[in-house]
Amino acid sequence: MQGGLERATGEKMVLNFGPQHPATHGTLRIVLELDGESVLKATPHAGYLHTGFEKLGEHLDYNQYIVVTDRMNYLSPLSNNFGYVLAVEQLLGIEVTKRCQYIRILMAELSRLADHLLWLGTAALDLGAFSVFLYSFREREKLYSIFEKTTGARLTTSYTRVGGVLRDLYDGCEEDVRQFVSNFPKALKETHTLLTKNRIWMDRTKGVGAISADDAVSYGLTGPCLRATGVAHDIRKAEPYSSYDEVNFDVPVGTNGDAYDRYLVRMEEMIQSCGIVTQVLDNMPDGPVNVEDNKITMPNKSDAYGHIEGLIHHFKVVMDGHGVQPPKGDHYCATESPNGELGFYIVSDGSGTAYRIRIRPPSFLHFQALPHMLEGGMVSDTVAVLGSLNVIAGELDR
């Protein structure tokens, strides 16, 4: 077909894909140079959702900035909250309580599930599988109800605080989560039966958008996209942060690095996350959720209203120049977000506001590698490959 079209037209066509295309998942734009149906050149453009998050970081104090991290990967804000406060805490040199660590892992894994579920639904929808979208959103809704009850918000969770979390889990949280994880593998199996051996799904994703392990490392791919190429690297295993060294889980890897393997890796990761969630609930320690340092965390409301010391501590924590003040220095902290390595590089000058905050988003590097996966393929595969990468505009453009 390609040869026929070439003879027919003999010229290249430039197709502008996005930023307002339903399959671009937000404001992404790719300029495709086509020869008939095949992609000669793809040029991704970023920046449509640039909001200056890094600049804002130099003007907000350490706790205020948590609100901004919600808006980075808005499909799993709890993971961003976690990664950011972890960086600040490591810069401060404090360790949060065991219960807090477990709660954070619980929330991070649930948001990994929510993120992968949304990815699954939309990636399948892009290729025409509408029922998968409905099934995954049905499950995602249950998670969002848990998030809403825990944090008070579905999207802008802002759950973590430097030195702790906003509040402890609500009564009945454990039952809700246990009920979810006991039903979830069965629900995921439905999707497996719909997609995994589906002839159309396999034709559309197998061998599509493949990248070799060497290229993936060179392009800086991380997370499921890297593991699909066969590199068994997971920051939760390689550099266990929080209490990830106390839970058992497997790191699923693919072999071909194509869209189908990225799908399989994410599917297995969801099952692994369920396992982590169960272990966390089984071993959830008791105790306070905030570190007992009044210079870092807020006092209880009853203390703030009932005792002069509590009021002073409350006042000190929120006043500019009196709250969280990490020592002078810089620190890079990486966490395994659902999409891959989410890093925060913070330079502190010793004041209550960061001197510089740099966010290392996984999506930025994934989107960069897109031409490598598209060029030489068919134009219809663009949607399949883009969907398989799960590029989130919020963290891409920051």
């Binding site: 920046g47 390689a238 890093g343 740099r358």
Partner: protein
């Protein structure tokens, strides 16, 4: 950033030992904080050192995690330490083999914003360097496509520099509607 503390505490990391043996002339300072080795190197030798770090079979820092910069113009202590170089280009490296991180910093003076590009070593460096150029105006020599990436092409200034105001620099006043429509 004192070398004395480093030596006393624990055996020297392999990367420091090897760099000392091979690139003693490139090093300006070194440090190890919170489990990460930090080295500050001379700009002229930056490419050679980074290439060595990537290709040496024992070190194998094959993953370029991040490239960014810090404008130190309001950080007097940093300025003084590195001969009043305004910018510090920061490379975060990771070795899958050794499972360790490394932070390489290169001071860049405001009157000479050129620094060799590492796009030839890591494909992923392309956009990271473009963003650093966009936000700080660092000129990566040998970069195949050094354009703005997050800001519009006709944007003036580099927003993450410390002298750039938070609320922008008068775009609204300068925006000429008649000219745009003409």
């Amino acid at each position: 950033m004192s070398e004395e503390n480093q030596v006393e505490e624990q055996p020297k990391p392999l990367v420091l030992e090897k760099l000392e043996a091979n690139y003693a002339d490139a090093r300006l300072a070194q440090d190890a904080s919170r489990g990460t080795v930090i080295i500050v190197i001379r700009k002229e030798r930056a490419y050679a050192v980074l290439e060595y770090l990537k290709t040496d079979p024992e070190l194998a820092y094959t993953f370029l995690v991040d490239v960014t910069a810090v404008d130190n113009s309001q950080m007097e202590s940093e300025l003084m330490q590195f001969d009043y170089a305004r910018f510090m280009v920061v490379y975060q490296l990771y070795s899958y083999q050794g499972q360790c991180r490394l932070r390489v910093k290169v001071p860049v003076h405001e009157n000479d914003l050129n620094i060799p590009s590492v796009t030839g070593l890591w494909k992923g460096a392309n956009w990271l360097e473009r963003e650093t150029y966009d936000m700080f105006g660092i000129n990566f020599e040998g970069h195949p496509d050094l354009r703005r990436i997050l800001m519009p092409d006709d944007f003036e200034g580099h927003p993450l520099r410390k002298d750039y105001p938070l609320r922008g620099r008068g775009e609204r006043e300068r925006f000429n509607f008649d000219k745009q429509n003409a």
